[in-house]
């Protein structure tokens, strides 16, 4: 059951919104409509659903309409058309009183430039949402202090925001949003104003928090790396329209159109693709049934200089090399255990290619992808290189 369902949500800035919507239906572009009617299309028929506990990233360059879209969700900007369903209520159509109730109870927002009130202390800032709800001083101060501790700000609570660094200020922004215990967090370019190192820390921290909080997060960003890092799913926007929605892998591997493809071509794929995407079905020898002779034969068949050995349940035992196997055959050794090598280079299926490099560069044999001791697949050097080059070796069906 999705927490938020957005259906055909549109925003046209200007006077003659009906005509602009009609032109949109006819497939006219944003520029053509601006020329013809003088209206600016902010968001064009956005539709998506966000599941509970999901981090849904809306990503696009400036002017793509992403900031407008997030403000349509909590109606800071009045939608021209479409609906936003939260728990079965249509936010786009509700009256002022109900809108305030939903904003107080279900939606919290974190702002790009933090949006902290300079005349209030850190604690008073974090209390803001609760104060608006009319909670008494003691209760709200307790809740706000908890939220501040959660984001690692236990000590500075009586200072003013201006005395804190950017990263710290955004923690306050986050604490203010969390203090309300909302169902949905709207984060509008929340980390964009921070310098790169701090930004990465904050991303990590958000992901850590998310492990325990399991909030539904709608995260706006213009930074694709950030989107790929924290998003469970990503919606890519261009010219006011959503051009593709998918998991980070789907977007990287199967871009929906030229725009997305161009967008993602500079991405550091090594940080996104994992072992699962590039591994192959392994050739193996069952240690309980076969000896060095069969192993040697199989290696010759597939043209490898080593082969992985498993038991009948596909538990990885080790590998043997072709040299050792032919030596063993000469010496009439029957048991593979005698020539088995166990210094196997292994990775899990979620290891990123970036980390695979470190294992693969000095490994004489293909890397084993292992889960709970079972061999899932192997990775040969060629596959890594092909995947980095963005060629067809990558297989999403593995995922």
């Amino acid at each position: 059951m999705p927490v938020i369902q957005v259906e055909g949500l549109s925003k046209v800035f200007g006077k003659n919104t009906k005509e602009a919507l009609k032109l949109l239906d006819e497939g006219k572009t944003k520029e053509e409509i601006l020329k013809k009617t003088g209206n600016t299309v902010g968001v064009n028929r956005a539709s998506f659903e966000v599941e509970a506990g999901e981090v849904f990233v809306i990503m696009g360059l400036s002017g793509s309409g992403k900031s407008t879209l997030v403000r349509l969700i909590n109606r800071l900007i009045e939608p021209t058309e479409g609906s936003v369903m939260i728990d079965g209520e249509n936010l786009a159509k509700m009256d002022k009183t109900n809108l305030r109730r939903v904003r107080r109870e279900k939606l919290s927002m974190v702002f790009q430039k933090f949006g902290l009130f300079p005349h209030r202390t850190i604690l008073e800032n974090a209390e803001f949402g609760l104060e608006i709800q009319g909670l008494d001083k003691e209760k709200r101060s307790k809740k706000a202090t908890e939220a501040l501790k959660l984001v690692g700000l236990g000590e500075y609570i009586h200072q003013k925001p201006a005395q804190l660094s950017g990263g710290m200020q955004q923690r306050v922004g986050l604490a203010r949003a969390l203090a309300n215990d909302p169902e949905v967090l709207l984060m509008d370019e929340a980390f964009s104003a921070l310098d790169p190192l701090i930004r990465k820390d904050m991303q990590d921290e958000l992901l850590d928090l998310q492990e325990t909080m399991k909030k539904t997060i709608i995260f706006i960003t213009h930074d694709l790396d950030e989107a790929l890092r924290i998003g469970d799913r990503i919606a890519l926007m261009n010219g006011g329209s959503i051009v593709q929605i998918g998991t980070p892998e789907e977007i990287l591997v199967n871009p929906a159109n030229d725009y997305v493809e161009k967008f993602v071509q500079d991405v550091d794929r090594s940080k996104v693709l994992t072992a699962e995407h590039i591994m192959k079905r392994p050739e193996t020898i069952n240690i309980e049934k076969h000896g060095p002779r069969v192993a040697l034969e199989r290696m010759r068949e597939v043209g490898l200089s080593s082969i992985y050995i498993t038991d009948a349940k596909r538990n990885l035992k080790g590998y043997v090399t072709a040299d050792d196997a032919s030596e063993a055959r000469k010496n009439e050794v029957r048991d593979l255990n005698e020539i088995l090598k166990t210094d196997v280079p292994t990775v899990s299926k979620d290891t990123t290619m970036h980390d695979i490099f470190e294992v693969i560069h000095d490994s004489p044999v293909p890397i084993a992808v292992v889960e709970d001791g079972k061999l899932l697949g192997i990775i040969v050097r060629g596959a890594v290189i092909a995947a980095l080059a963005g060629e067809g070796e990558v297989n999403l069906n593995n995922a």
């Binding site: 305030r100 939903v102 904003r103 107080r104 949006g115 009130f117 300079p118 949402g129 608006i132 203010r176």
Partner: protein, 281 residues
């Protein structure tokens, strides 16, 4: 050619209009004149009744604390006020001060809400802005005429003229201050579900405070200048001294009364400015 159209009777129309208003609102103006006039007398008398040395000391103490425990303004206040006392203008000073105080207070009470209204409504801004321009550019003396018509002579018409002349800065600066609150803060306030009143009192007014205070400072200074002019319609105080010196061509007394006004102006200005700075941080 230019005489083709006979003179349009604007002056007559305004006169008639003022007469009509005076007659129609006599029931309102007369009680204001009497009750408010009595109150003004009373408050001025109260100030006069306090021994000057106490007032001087209180002002000096306030000056000391309001400037962040610096001694400069306190010393200036003591010397300046003593000088006025020394010149025998203490009573006049108290009258002028109470006029300024009450006129500014009323200006702020009227000006801030009007400014808030302007900041919230484009329509209100479009209507009120030109009225403010009119109020500020019309020579101050002109207001004295209807003021006398409504309230005859004395303190009350002086206050009335001062209200018209001195309120615009407070209105303008309040409007400006609220409109200048950064959009993200307004959004933050809305996003957490504030009502309009909560937004105004918890975010907009606190954020606009220093701008509004700058407007109030202007209003107070304009009030002072108007209160001096209002001596022409019988308002008591330092202005009356200046006026009578003018009529009798007494350069010396005129100068002394003028210095008194300057001293009062400097003290009031520094007080309101420092109040603002203190609030700002």
């Amino acid at each position: 050619m230019l005489d083709f159209i006979p003179k349009i009777p604007i002056a007559e129309a305004v006169s008639d209009f003022t007469d009509d208003i005076t007659n129609a609102f006599a029931w309102l103006f007369n009680p204001i004149k009497n009750q408010f006039g009595d109150f003004m007398e009373w408050s001025a008398d109260l100030l006069v009744a306090i021994p000057p040395i106490i007032i001087i000391l209180v002002v000096a103490l306030l000056a000391f604390f309001i400037t962040g425990k610096r001694i400069g303004l306190a010393i200036f206040s003591v010397i300046g006020l003593w000088l006025i006392y020394n010149q025998g203008l203490w009573e006049e000073l108290m009258f002028t001060f109470s006029l300024v105080l009450i006129a500014s207070l009323l200006s702020v009470i009227i000006g801030v809400p009007v400014g808030i209204l302007m900041s919230k409504s484009k329509l209100a801004e479009n209507i009120i802005s030109p009225i403010l321009d009119f109020m500020q550019t019309m020579p101050a003396f002109v207001y004295l005429i209807p003021a006398v018509a409504f309230f005859s002579i004395g303190m009350v018409p002086g206050i009335f003229a001062s209200l018209i002349f001195a309120t615009p800065p407070t209105v303008r600066f309040t409007n400006l201050g609220i409109r200048q609150v950064s959009e993200e803060l307004v959004e933050a306030s809305d996003a957490f579900g504030s009502t309009g009143t909560q937004k105004l009192f918890k975010v907009e007014l606190p954020m606009a405070k220093s701008t509004i205070m700058a407007g109030i400072n202007q209003t107070v200074m304009l009030s002072l200048s108007m209160v001096v002019i209002a001596s022409m319609i019988g308002a008591p105080g330092l202005g009356r001294e200046v006026l009578s010196s003018l009529q009798r061509a007494q350069v010396g007394t005129g100068f002394v009364a003028g210095i008194g006004i300057v001293i009062l102006a400097i003290i009031i200005d520094r007080f309101t400015q420092n109040l603002n700075m203190k609030k700002a941080d």
